[in-house]
């Protein structure tokens, strides 16, 4: 083992507080326990090293311990890039705390690097003095050469700026599994569980959940389950007894609203929200989808819930996915399609048909880096304008966005409410960060969820003066048309993509009718604003002169940045939009109150463009498209600059 013993708390770019409490461990070894208010850990390894699984398990342990947390999985698009290379590095970052946290942390306090590639790819982001744990067994001349290390960083002094603990994780795992009967290759695969055991000791995590998880996951391969559990325990015991780690850390549970909690990812929450929405509407759910990263997990999750009458259809392509969903909607189901940006591009024509036929449909776009195939596993918010305008003709579609993984649940229910109430396709914009990120989630009581059964009402009686059925006769308040489903006697009608005559829905090429229908479709979508709450402004002092406005997954980083600003004695208002089309009715007035409005986005200024166009407000765009969430420290600097200088904020290439 090399490197100094970490006897002090890791340096903390996130401003964590540390208190040292001494204690002794078994065997007379004196170990101390340091109390921290928060920690950011990053696990990095080869794509095959199981870093995502390790991170998810650590997250589950941490969630059940009662800390608040946010996670950031980050992995390559390749399933297995060549072993030990930089493109193959997969990482998982987690921030957990004794108070509520809004982001997975800007930079790690602790970096675990399972091989030289993981070290090289991540070291620059570990602040000086940070704790670095490496698997020394993997620092072989061959592995070093693969990533261009001329000398071994564990030996050449280049890691002196960090608290480096070099541990032979692989060989200790093999030793622990010497009697397991597994071959070397198989036994080696448990090194991630050894590492998890070590971290579980370091941070006083509960272990029962992981043991249960391993037993459940490998119930058909008991020898693999036993090996993983043995490695996990060996890692834990190693921490407990080694001199290499003299300190362990305690992060007390975070105060949370009373209730029952679980850990949930955005894709999971979204899928559960869709099931719940179907149940609360009383409608069968039909999902038509084509596999695409990072949305496929919603298809996987929904396909497991057939007991709720959920039908999932893996279509031949994106177009068939939405086509089948629209066909199911015509038949009275809650039609849903899930995809990512390239899929939305293919679905555009069918979305237009749904606009024309005025049928309910939920379209979920889990955004990723674009254009084209872009960055399939990385996050971005660059589909907003596609969601708004990516169709031929005047084809308005409501757009909503969740702000956190757990919020994906509520967004799914809200998307369904709008789709059913207004008989319209609705675009729900999640993104890769929300989809794969996780957080504790207060489990709602099913009976307390919005009752959508009224919104789903089918027409069963003719509505015309002469006893005929008029499919395009509208509800005067919502402008929604009557929804009569096949099988209903006396209500036979034909719908389609050709322009409809008002009331009858027959084909009409009449110029005045087309003008009227185009404006009516727009008015229907604009009218949704009447059903949504006024703009929610978070401004504790109530007299901020600068507002930050965002949408989607930037809520956490913007929120954390605003906290920093307020801690420094400055004032800032945070506005985060759930509804982007239509905007809340009072948004224009609200924005006009501020001297400066800053809009951070993971695109080149798409919301800013809409706000400027709609409200003539001089919104200052701050943008980034690095495939990763904003760092809150960077955002805080931008906001602070805007507050202090009173001049236009620094912008990153945004149109000004």
């Amino acid at each position: 083992m090399t490197g100094p013993n970490p006897t002090v708390a890791p340096s903390d770019p996130n401003g964590a507080l540390a208190t040292t409490v001494s204690s002794s461990a078994p065997g007379g070894l004196v170990k101390s326990v340091v109390e921290l208010d928060r920690v950011v850990i990053r696990l990095a390894g080869d794509s095959g090293d199981g870093m995502q699984l390790t991170g998810n398990r650590f997250t589950s342990e941490t969630a059940s311990f009662g800390n608040d947390l946010k996670t950031l999985p980050n992995f390559p698009a390749e399933i297995r890039a060549p072993t030990g290379t930089l493109p193959g590095v997969s990482s998982f970052q987690l921030q957990f705390a004794d108070h509520d946290v809004m982001t997975p942390g800007d930079a790690p306090d602790v970096l675990v690097a399972m091989n030289p590639a993981a070290l090289k790819a991540n070291l620059a982001e570990l602040p000086g003095g940070g704790l670095l744990i490496v698997d020394s067994d993997e620092f072989t001349p061959r592995n070093l050469a693969k990533v261009g290390y001329a000398t071994n960083p564990l030996e050449d002094g280049s890691l002196e700026g960090w608290q480096t603990v070099s541990v032979p994780l692989t060989s200790m795992t093999l030793d622990a599994l010497a009697d397991s009967g597994l071959g070397k290759k198989e036994a080696e695969r448990s090194k991630n569980m050894f590492t998890l055991g070590l971290l579980s000791w370091m941070y006083h995590r509960p272990t029962e959940g992981t043991i249960r998880f391993l037993e459940r996951t490998f119930r058909r391969k008991p020898e693999i389950a036993a090996a993983n559990i043995a490695a996990f325990r060996a890692g834990y015991n190693y921490g407990d007894t080694t001199e290499a780690f003299a300190v362990s850390y305690e992060i007390k549970p975070a105060p949370m609203q009373p209730g029952r909690y679980r850990n949930i990812s955005g894709n999971q929450a979204l899928a559960l929200g869709l099931v719940a929405a179907g149940q609360r509407a009383g409608l069968p759910v039909f999902l038509g989808a084509y596999p695409i990263t990072p949305a496929s997990d919603i298809l996987h999750e929904l396909s497991r819930h057939k007991a709720f009458g959920v039908r999932t259809f893996q279509a031949e392509d994106e177009i068939a996915g939405i086509g089948a969903a629209l066909g199911a909607s015509f038949g009275g189901a809650l039609g849903i399609t899930t995809t990512s940006g390239p899929g939305v591009a293919l679905k555009g024509e069918t979305i237009g048909l749904a606009v024309m036929t005025e049928l309910p449909l939920v379209i979920v776009d889990v955004q990723r880096g674009g254009p084209s195939t872009g960055l399939p596993t990385k996050t971005e918010q660059s589909d907003l304008l596609q969601a708004m305008f990516g169709r031929n003709g005047e084809a308005p579609v409501p757009v909503i966005a969740p702000r956190s993984p757990g919020d994906c649940f509520d967004a799914a229910v809200e998307a369904t409410r709008i789709a059913l109430t207004y008989r319209t396709p609705v675009m729900l914009l999640s993104d890769g960060y929300l989809a794969n990120g996780a957080e504790p989630w207060a489990i709602p009581d099913a009976a307390s969820l919005p009752d959508l059964s009224g919104a789903a009402g089918f027409a069963t009686e003719p509505n015309g003066e002469d006893g005929e059925f008029l499919p395009y006769l509208r509800d005067p308040e919502t402008l929604a048309r009557a929804w009569a489903i096949p099988g209903t006697a006396g209500m036979q009608h034909r719908i389609g993509g050709l322009e409809k005559a008002d009331r009858t829905g027959n084909i009409s090429y009449d110029p005045a009718n087309h003008d009227f229908m185009t404006r009516t479709r727009q008015a229907k979508i604009d009218g949704i604003a009447a059903s949504i709450p006024p703009t929610d402004v978070e401004d504790p002092d109530g007299d901020a002169r600068v507002a930050v406005i965002g949408w989607g997954s930037t809520y956490g980083p913007i929120g954390a940045a605003c906290r920093r600003i307020r801690t420094s004695g400055r004032k800032v208002a945070q506005i985060h939009l759930r509804h982007i089309n239509p905007f809340p009715a009072d948004l224009g007035e609200v924005l006009a109150r501020y001297d400066r409005v800053i809009c951070p986005e993971m695109n080149l200024g798409q919301l800013a463009l809409l706000l400027r166009a709609k409200f003539l407000v001089d919104v200052q765009s701050h943008t980034q498209v690095r495939g990763m969430p904003f760092r809150s420290a960077e955002l805080a600097a931008v906001i602070q600059d805007a507050i202090d200088t009173g001049k236009p904020a620094a912008v990153n290439g945004a149109p000004q």
């Binding site: 969630a63 099931v275 009383g282 709720f308 031949e316 015509f330 189901a333 006697a489 034909r494």
Partner: protein, 363 residues
Amino acid sequence: MTTIDLGMPAEGPIADAIAASVESHGEKQTALKAKDLKTDQEVRWCPGCGDYVILNAVQSFLPSLGIAREDMVIVSGIGCSSRFPYYMNTYGMHSIHGRAPAIATGLAASRPDLSVWVVTGDGDALSIGGNHLIHALRRNVNMTILLFNNRIYGLTKGQYSPTSEVGKVTKSTPMGSLDHPFNPVSLALGADATFVGRAMDSDRKGLTEVLRQAAEHQGTALVEIYQNCNIFNDGAFDLLKDSSTGPMWTIPLEHGKPLVFGPDGASCVVREDFGGLRIAETNQVDASEIVVHDATREDPSYAFALSRLSSQDLRYTPMGVFRSVRKPSYEQMMAEQLHEARLQGPGDLDELLAGGDTWTVSS
């Protein structure tokens, strides 16, 4: 009269809406006449178009199925034939180009209690919608696809289509088209379609018979209907329609009957090497060599070989049902999976939301 029992939708608002409408209308009206299926919409095909003949045949034939109007849905794509739903007093959707099989799949999969029909053309089904067609066929969702093949793009005013013969001179191919056409029957059989038939627009009797078998079929049925476009491809099927040449080049397919055709039964179909079929003169072969048509063969190779007898200029064109085999249909299997999942008890939403590992924070 064939009566098709569609069954009832699952309990819930869909069944409730249907029950409410039945209550105000009395029992479901299944004794229909052709006029009950007409709408008040003016039919807007060109005078003399083959589509009129097909529409009349379908309106005359459908009542024989004993299905109420409200339980029938016709989904179409884009093209002349796809205006079909507007003229049928059933539920209907005139959708977008090529996507009708996908839309109908979602409808049929979620509503097994409906009789779902797709009306499409050669451009709609085989060009822009080729992918959806082959996947619908392999999945075997319960629906009937009527493919009106006029071997031309009519609605866009006369470009060659994926079934036009090589060398077709059109506006977009002044020196003749270069690409080899699809044979829709061969294509469907290649996708392992469980029911494939072919009929002629003007042959009311033959068309009705193929439609009847297609409607009774459980799964996806594809019926290719040769349809004359009298504006842009007039006379395309005259070789088969003309009373002097038709019998010579048409091979009528009747299950269980020897494939003998032509004036005085002069021609017949016999086996050839490598699993193929060929045309022979009846008096030159032994009666035992003549193929007896069997549409129920599990292996589609025979039906495929039949479909390959015809040439691009339509000589030796088999008409009738090529293949009709039983296979579980997609929506049935989907319903069975839902049923099986419910055997453990209907879903409990609170349990689902809680998932596995939870913890409680008390005040």
